[in-house]
Symmetry: C2
Subunit: 466 residues, 2 copies
Amino acid sequence: MGDEGTLISKVMAAIRRRVASRSLPVGAKLPSIRQMARTMQVSPATVVEAYERLAAEGLIRSRPGSGFFVASLAAPLDLSEIGPRLDRAIDPLWVSRQSLEAGEGDVKPGCGWLPPSWLPEAALRKALRGLSRASDVDLGEYSTPLGLAPLRLLVGRRLAETGVEAAPDQIMLTESGTQSIDLLCRLLLEPGDVVLLDDPCYFNFQALLRAHRVTVVSVAYTPSGPDLAQFETILAEHRPRLYITNSAVHNPTGATLSPVTAHRMLKLAEAYSLTIVEDEIFADFEDSPAPRLAAFDGLERVVQVGSFSKTLSASARCGFIAARRDWMAGLVDLKIATSFGGGRLSAALVLSVLRDGGYRRHLDGLRHRLAGARADVAARLGRLGIVPWLMPRAGMFLWCRLPDGLDSADVAREALAQNVVLAPGNAFSVSRSAGACLRFNVSQCDDRVFEVLEASLRGARARAPA
Amino acid sequence: MGDEGTLISKVMAAIRRRVASRSLPVGAKLPSIRQMARTMQVSPATVVEAYERLAAEGLIRSRPGSGFFVASLAAPLDLSEIGPRLDRAIDPLWVSRQSLEAGEGDVKPGCGWLPPSWLPEAALRKALRGLSRASDVDLGEYSTPLGLAPLRLLVGRRLAETGVEAAPDQIMLTESGTQSIDLLCRLLLEPGDVVLLDDPCYFNFQALLRAHRVTVVSVAYTPSGPDLAQFETILAEHRPRLYITNSAVHNPTGATLSPVTAHRMLKLAEAYSLTIVEDEIFADFEDSPAPRLAAFDGLERVVQVGSFSKTLSASARCGFIAARRDWMAGLVDLKIATSFGGGRLSAALVLSVLRDGGYRRHLDGLRHRLAGARADVAARLGRLGIVPWLMPRAGMFLWCRLPDGLDSADVAREALAQNVVLAPGNAFSVSRSAGACLRFNVSQCDDRVFEVLEASLRGARARAPA
């Protein structure tokens, strides 16, 4: 009976899984008793009992003479259910959720943004005052489909500084860098397509792609870009439709693409009809621009996206897409369909700050301050045996390896109990092979971080299997 | 040879269609010569010639010994390609595109928003000044996952006035009402699901659903809600997973749901496991609230969405979702994955205006002004033989029928040549059965609208088939 009970549970679990994954949607007919018995290698009586119990729960119901059907609301799409579950607690949304939900007193060396005091708050306040007085700013209207023209012009000029040529009609403003990538996925992907990511990569690329129901493959990232041999093998084998990566400063590694790697990548992309989304969200952190794929390629098969959330304000939501001219109408349609007009207010605010000479000075100061912080934090981490994979040329991140084979998920959990949000390596790793790594945001590392880190390392060591 | 040429073109067109629709994605192998010849009922030689020509064009390429493969970038998703194409020029995106792209001097009686001078611009400017000074507003940070807590509390209180009970943890702020519906579609729908809309309905529901690759069915809307007999038949026959509709003031008809219809709809929704998205974007136009499905249902199988773009500002992007508590975690994950944090700045601005006593006064004045404009515009349209389907109790829309069997697409094209953007009926109609209708926004109808309308009617009459 115990054994029979186990078999009944097994059948019930199989149906529940199929309902949860929507392979059996509401209203769908369940497999016949006989068919299910064959599939699960159990007796028909076992299936009858399992179906009856599921009907009693309300998940399915029987229609006399025609079988069993899915009755209740199927479980809604759950991003945390879709991906690899080897390390359930540390999924790609872990860092975002913990960082965005952190309380007042929490420290967030794992988060991906600067503290408010590092941002040009005075310039933002000045811009708000300006907007409240300006007679030419329409505070009530939707934006035009492509977005505020003078800001598009200015974005084009900024891109030109990195060698990317984009006319204002090839630039569409969005509400964020994330929305930019989302719109491109909507334009270019179908469910079931294959998409290539770096390993490690920005964790939200994975979360976003789960929402698009595509298959993700990954290529190891080296200090000068993706591993080219692996890149070619994957292109030949999996034929990914898209590759999403960071230019300027790679997240989380801080690596910089080399010109020779960029050139070879583009040749391979052409040979295998690959489209590349180049996210240059960290562009303003650079002293001198690293090579851009979009500059080599001329926006043929490379699309650029970016935003102002890292160096100007994460609160005024404004991003952009620079793409081939023949994709713009489709992108505009998708933007209208899924978010209607853009935010004229945020765009006007960003434009006002960018136009102010103070923003360049702010960036100069910021780069200097980050360089100091990178050196300082690397030294302090070194004393704990935590070593950066490389010393980045720019940006806020240090991608580090823990000592003694410690598991960063363990360390992150210990630290979270002390209200310190760390960013464990596997949140960034499609292959879940970065369990020994942590990403540190040097602008968010105060003394308490190192104290808690030391204690957490001790805790993780004590709990590690001998 | 002419005949052979036609057959070759036929095969080429078939392949092009399959590449454009992505049923043959990049890298996919084409059907073998023999197979394609059988399918198209042509000779193998015809297929060989067609494939060679497509290869010469670069769309496909041959790999010796293994056949033909799709070579070039497949056409990206084109929303205008997916839906019904009976009336290509007037697709669901027509009104949005024309209205959002309208130039300075254009008049937009077809658009879905108020002129800036009808919005509380002084209150907005005051709120901006306040934000520029406030010490407690963080201008650099991302918002928390659910969004600004005091605004969620306030949204909950406003919903309570219509009988909808939603605790702050059942409310998530978004960047727009459209994004709210988009996130719900992402949570609840799979490609290929069936979704029910009203006929007529807000055109962007159709555009949005195309982006989700679902099948749309529609139910005729009556002055008191959807036609109940048809509603039941459709639920039984098509088993739609979602029904998206307007509460408060129906767009485009201005109809008001009756309590008895609401009650019966909910019983049917329960019987057929239907989830309902109730968009209450026009709520603030009402003098006294019409019945809300969500109030009857208690947010069990009804989800409410809304925004502040119609009565406060379309520029400060801020919307919300009020839903079952067990859906909130999934919605938050999707919001983070697809747009990261929300816009704290817009939320703070909206909160500031809503808290100001001036907003209630603004609404009182606005409702009065709209009531006058509805009566005035109805009278002036009547003189042209254009008659409202009903006189709405609230809001900015009049859904009208043209005289003499005139086609509203024709009239709209005539008017557009005179820089007047009208909203032709079939943009709102899933069944494309509203060719004789136009939606008028009474707040955007100045003298020129009636002059151009009169001339356009004349033009359309002259061009109409005798």
